[in-house]
């Protein structure tokens, strides 16, 4: 079975600065991969490239076997149109550090925007599914509320439900708890743990080392735009083999 997400020799530049250096990563169905590393190491950039919010300058990213952002014609990669890219993005859920809920839409409308208006699925089915998702993240009572009326933790749980409502093949989490007050981190992490247990394919950029250790199938350490080491939580966090990983882990724990 082909991996859900495959990044092969990915290069990304911001002007002269190389943000991703020859990054290769493969995520299988149902796998939970946590990416850790110091800030500015390219973790978020990798996620943003995988969700096609940023374009890449070299290499290939494929989602479920389909090349992201390009059509292959022989040895040439031809960029896809905005519409085709938008269709591909439906397969990749994204949860942002700052939630990015739509403030002018109620919680339920935030969940329905994608499936009803973009995917054009039957409204009644979507509504039922959305309510089930809200129940799953423990926010049924907030369906009619507006995002600004919710706490940060509640907003992030809604954002996770919004990503799920698209029925994505994979969900990418870009530091989902970094903008939260410490006492609200737990409620978001517990939703993510449940999601991982349910078999969702997830890539999580995070500083929550304890979460990585408990939930990740594989931990990836990035530094300076490159993947330095990858391995099981045991090998990466409990008894880090790589000296750079070891010094990072001891610094954050």
């Amino acid at each position: 079975m082909s991996p859900i997400l495959q990044a092969v020799h990915v290069q990304k530049y911001y002007g002269a600065f190389q943000a991703l250096k020859d990054v290769s990563l493969s995520v299988d169905r149902g796998e939970v991969v946590c990416i850790i590393g110091p800030s500015g190491s390219g973790k978020s950039t990798l996620l943003r490239c995988a969700s096609q919010l940023e374009s890449i300058d070299g290499g290939v990213i494929a989602v479920d076997g389909e090349i992201a952002g390009f059509r292959r014609s022989g040895d040439t990669l031809v960029p896809l149109s905005d519409g085709q890219t938008a269709r591909q993005r439906q397969n990749v859920g994204m949860v942002f550090q700052r939630f990015n809920l739509f403030p002018h839409r109620s919680v339920l409308e935030n969940l329905l925007e994608g499936p009803v208006r973009v995917q054009k699925r039957p409204a009644e089915d979507c509504r039922r599914e959305a309510m089930a998702l809200l129940e799953r993240v423990g926010l049924t009572a907030k369906a009619a509320s507006y995002p600004n009326e919710l706490s940060g933790g509640q907003q992030q749980r809604v954002a996770i439900a919004r990503a799920l409502a698209m029925r994505p093949k994979i969900i990418l989490f870009d530091e989902p708890t970094s903008a939260l007050d410490p006492e609200l981190v737990g409620e978001v992490l517990s939703v993510m743990k449940e999601l991982a247990k349910s078999g969702m394919t997830m890539v999580v950029v995070t500083h929550e080392i304890a979460f990585c250790r408990e939930v990740a199938d594989r931990v990836v350490f990035m530094d300076g735009g490159a993947i330095i080491a990858t391995g099981s939580p045991e090998d990466m966090i409990v008894r880090p083999q790589n000296p750079r990983v070891a010094s990072f882990i001891s610094a954050v724990l």
């Binding site: 002018h104 994608g114 423990g138 926010l139 507006y146 609200l184």
Partner: protein
């Protein structure tokens, strides 16, 4: 420091001194208003002309002309302005340059000059045609209404474009990204997610511009479009009651502007959906993911 020990605090009362400054200011204001009212009273104003003409047919026709022109010119201005604002923020440099050039040109030339240019277009293009098809005489097409509409609408578009652009810039970048992450195209995300939020910032200055437009339509009197200032003028050329009829026009402008201001506050309320009630839920009340069980 005075010791409170020997004082019966229960007996203390706070005095409320007479606010002399407020009284004085109010008296001055009343005196000024009385002076103005007196001036109008003793001045040679025949007030019955004002009431006679306020609702007379030619004046009402002019009022209608002013309202129609305001609405039409603003519609053109807003549609054009929104399109140009999006062009100016496009990734396509040709669109950006076109938008920048348009704003530069039509914001730079006085509105009155633009009206005269459109109205006199026949001097350089006696006939207009679509690549040689459907030729028409410019004089027949470029009526005072059309000339005023083009002149006012197109220059308004240049101003509105900048208002809309500032509104779009006020919306967090994350909104566009979140919209794209649920499969929206950039255009769709702009129209359904970004612009509705930008409206909070856009509506107040557009309201301002609409009110400006009500008064700017008076320029169209110069090219014979019958808006209220022109119809008022037609009357006072005949009966010489200049001030009385100018007062009539002034009253109508005030009425239109007042109605628009009230409308604006309703529109602002509509687009503030989801705002204003921000975070009145204490964080401590956030209900945990109960349905998840203890994880």
């Amino acid at each position: 420091m005075q010791d409170l020990a020997g004082i019966d605090v229960q007996r203390l009362r706070i005095s409320r001194p007479i606010p002399y400054r407020q009284v004085a200011a109010s008296a001055l204001l009343l005196a000024f208003l009385a002076f103005v009212a007196h001036a109008f009273w003793v001045g040679a104003i025949e007030w019955h002309y004002v009431s006679d003409y306020l609702f007379s047919a030619p004046i009402l026709k002019g009022v209608r002309g002013t309202i129609v022109m305001t609405v039409c010119a603003m519609v053109i201005g807003i549609v054009l302005g929104t399109a140009v604002a999006m062009m100016r923020m496009s990734a396509n440099p040709a669109l950006r340059w076109a938008a920048t050039g348009y704003i530069w040109l039509f914001r730079g030339i006085p509105a009155l000059l633009q009206l005269l240019l459109w109205f006199n277009l026949a001097l350089i293009f006696p006939t207009i045609s679509l690549f040689g098809f459907f030729p028409v005489n410019t004089v027949d097409v470029m009526t005072p209404f059309v000339a005023a509409l083009l002149g006012l609408g197109i220059q308004q578009g240049a101003y509105t474009a900048e208002v809309v652009r500032s509104g779009i810039l006020s919306v967090d970048r994350g909104q566009m990204e979140a919209a794209q992450s649920i499969g929206m195209t950039r255009l769709r995300a702009m129209l359904t997610i970004v612009l509705p939020q930008a409206m909070r910032v856009i509506v107040p200055p557009i309201g301002n511009e609409t009110i400006g437009m009500v008064k700017l339509t008076s320029l169209a009197s110069v090219i014979q479009y019958s808006e209220v200032l022109r119809t008022v003028g037609d009357v006072y050329y005949a009966n010489s009651r200049v001030i009385e009829l100018l007062i009539v026009a002034g009253i109508w402008y005030m009425v239109i502007v007042t109605v628009l201001s009230i409308g604006q506050s309703y529109i602002e309320k509509y687009f503030s959906k989801g705002w204003g009630r921000a975070a009145d839920v204490p964080k401590a009340l956030s209900d945990g993911p109960a349905a998840m069980g203890a994880a």
